[in-house]
Symmetry: C2
Subunit: 397 residues, 2 copies
């Protein structure tokens, strides 16, 4: 939600849906800049602000928006009712600042819908069992939307974002990128975890778990967006596409410890201190050398590179390792598609495409529906475009 | 509540009270300017904004303050808990924007106090029986404070304002004005209704009804303020003072209809249309003339003068009255004191003092503990000072 103009625009959009005969439950976030304003207020009082009182503070942001949006609808003659998370009521656990939804009472919403009212719910918030105000943490408004859609058994949960759908890859890197009509939850989860910023992973997981069809739409433009669902839509071709999209992540860094004695527990000895430093490890590779030692490589977020490197050097001393090396100028390229499950040879095709462009692969990691490679960061654009063309993603669905 | 600096200052003040061994329940209002900011947002969406959604919006103002104040206390090592009206819970009727408190659950607050926590409650708000958010309207935070003090059987309800107590009269008009150590509820109610802006009438009424001792203090300076209670304090003299204070009201206007036939129901015929126009009438005077007609005079708020005059002219036509006249350059001066009950001659002393200064009295109205006169507005300062001196209010208590 942006300014008042944005609220007015959303009201107009909702009226269009309402006039088309839909019952509407709308989940909104805070107005643009409002959450940051509140966080700054909190930090003026306590730079370490967190816990119960921070949630009391932050939830006011969405509460302002629900009231204004309800007013905007009522002014236009459309009955509307706003609800805070506490009012709905959305019950969460008591993990302040990052609570998880436990249950949703929806009798009141159902009743309002039956009376022809548009229901507007504050995203991102709930109350624990003792009625303390909680927030759901990052991406919380999307999660609220999905949870409500599940509770109400809605036909569809539409998420309005600043993009008009999910693309085969980032159009800023590959102008030929094409908007997907549909994508599966599993593919979307891989895309999201690989760096696509369209939706928060948590909301997609939630939708997947409760099988709520999710549609990503633009807040600003008309269009059908992308439907995220368990199956391909009615416009599916006989065969699912091999590859749905290409994801990439620039924020990668790689660390290697060479010549570690290959004994049980060595992986834990290396990664334990990294985890203790609260650093998330992504890809992990272990090769056995002929001399009974092993080389151990893993990737972390680029921001954690220095800390991880220092930690690894300490570990290397303890383990009498030969050497520690690293590279924070790398990126990860991934191809994602449920079609991989039933088609062999996709990995080798991927490696061939990259090889044809002279791109050296530093690491490889695979899952059932994705293959990721780490390459030098200078190859990012070239690699994405080559894969996009090589797998014919610009063609029709 | 002003800025963050103000919140920090309040936290420090509370810590002083806490260290002195007091259990504290603190009711706070929105930060300075915040309520106006929210009202402006609402008016951008709907210039006529009111009703349910306006309350959802406005209550965020206090919610921000309770969170920040609780953070400020916790940061200083003092356990604190914030509560919205809904959380307390403060149940009101469902008159949005001007709800009245029906009941307060205080188990949770009592429990927090027992655990040594400072409890911080958002003023001005509650929920109706259907859990809709309501606001108490103007002066609502004071009312919340008094209601909580009554529910918790608190020793005292302290109201921090921008003045350091209740004065014998407005010190801006009479520099000799003296802060009162104590004043009775009845006197305070008369003072408030006569224009003294120290406290909202509603909070005083509420405190009186539930017999909650109320202390008006400065937010900025130290001092004992003024205790408002049913009896004079322990430092009372043998005799209560005759007069506690002099109130005045600049916003008065007077209307007169002359030569109305003196028949039953004529008062209603004159004042009915005024009430229908939602204009509040203050003083009312009716004199019988020798010729069987009557002159009827009343006062209204100066803002309502034009409307009331037009209405009265219409009525005059219907009643075949002789004449309609008015004056919107008048003020009301009042002396207030429970001592009047047991002392005769106070009215005549008042009239004598004014007469000595050449001040002509236009209307007189009396109640058990106050005497009000209407005079030309040019006499306001002179009248106040003369009465203050004449009743020896600058002397010691």
């Amino acid at each position: 939600m942006g300014s008042i103009e944005r609220i007015e625009a959303v009201a107009e959009k909702l009226i269009g849906y309402r006039d088309a005969g839909n019952d509407l439950v709308v989940v909104v976030s805070a107005m643009s800049g409002e959450t940051n304003r509140l966080i700054e207020l909190a930090q003026q009082v306590d730079p370490q602000a967190r816990g119960r009182e921070l949630d009391v503070l932050l939830t006011t942001g969405e509460q302002v928006t629900i009231a204004l949006l309800a007013m905007a609808l009522e002014k236009r003659g459309y009955p509307a009712r706003s609800y805070t998370g506490a009012q709905v009521r959305i019950t969460t656990d008591n993990a302040f600042n990052k609570a998880r939804i436990k249950s949703i009472e929806h009798e009141r919403i159902t009743d309002d819908l039956a009376r022809g009212r548009v229901v507007i719910v504050a995203g991102f918030q709930g109350v624990d069992e003792d009625n303390n105000i909680t927030t759901l943490g990052r991406g919380g408004s999307d999660t609220t939307g999905v949870a409500l859609a599940a509770a109400l058994k809605a036909d569809e949960c539409q998420i309005f974002t600043d993009v008009d759908g999910v693309y085969t890859t980032d159009p800023r890197v590959e102008p030929q990128a094409r908007r997907l009509d549909t994508i599966t939850f599993e593919e979307m989860l891989e895309m999201a975890s690989l760096g696509s910023k369209v939706l928060q992973i948590r909301a997609v997981e939630f939708a997947h778990k409760y099988n709520v069809p999710l549609r990503v739409l633009s807040s600003f433009e008309d269009g059908d967006g992308t439907l995220i669902t368990t199956e391909y839509g009615t416009d599916k071709t006989m065969e699912q596409p091999l590859i749905s999209g290409i994801a990439f992540n620039r924020d990668e860094a790689q660390l290697t410890i060479n010549g570690v004695s290959d004994t049980p527990g060595v992986a834990f000895q290396i990664l334990g201190p990294i985890a203790d430093a609260n650093i998330e490890v992504d890809m992990i590779l272990q090769n056995v050398s002929a001399d009974g030692t092993t080389d151990f490589t893993f990737t972390v977020h680029r921001n954690d590179y220095e800390t991880a490197f220092a930690s690894l050097q300490e570990t290397a001393g303890e383990l009498k390792a030969r050497e520690v090396s690293g590279n924070n100028k790398i990126v990860k390229l991934s191809i994602v598609g449920v079609g991989m499950r039933s088609h062999a040879g996709i990995a080798s095709r991927m490696f061939e495409i990259l090889s044809n462009e002279g791109i050296n692969i530093l690491m490889i990691s695979t899952s059932e529906i994705k293959i990721s490679v780490v390459v030098d960061e200078k190859y990012l654009e070239l690699g994405v475009r080559a894969l996009h063309e090589g797998f014919d993603l610009a063609g029709a669905n």
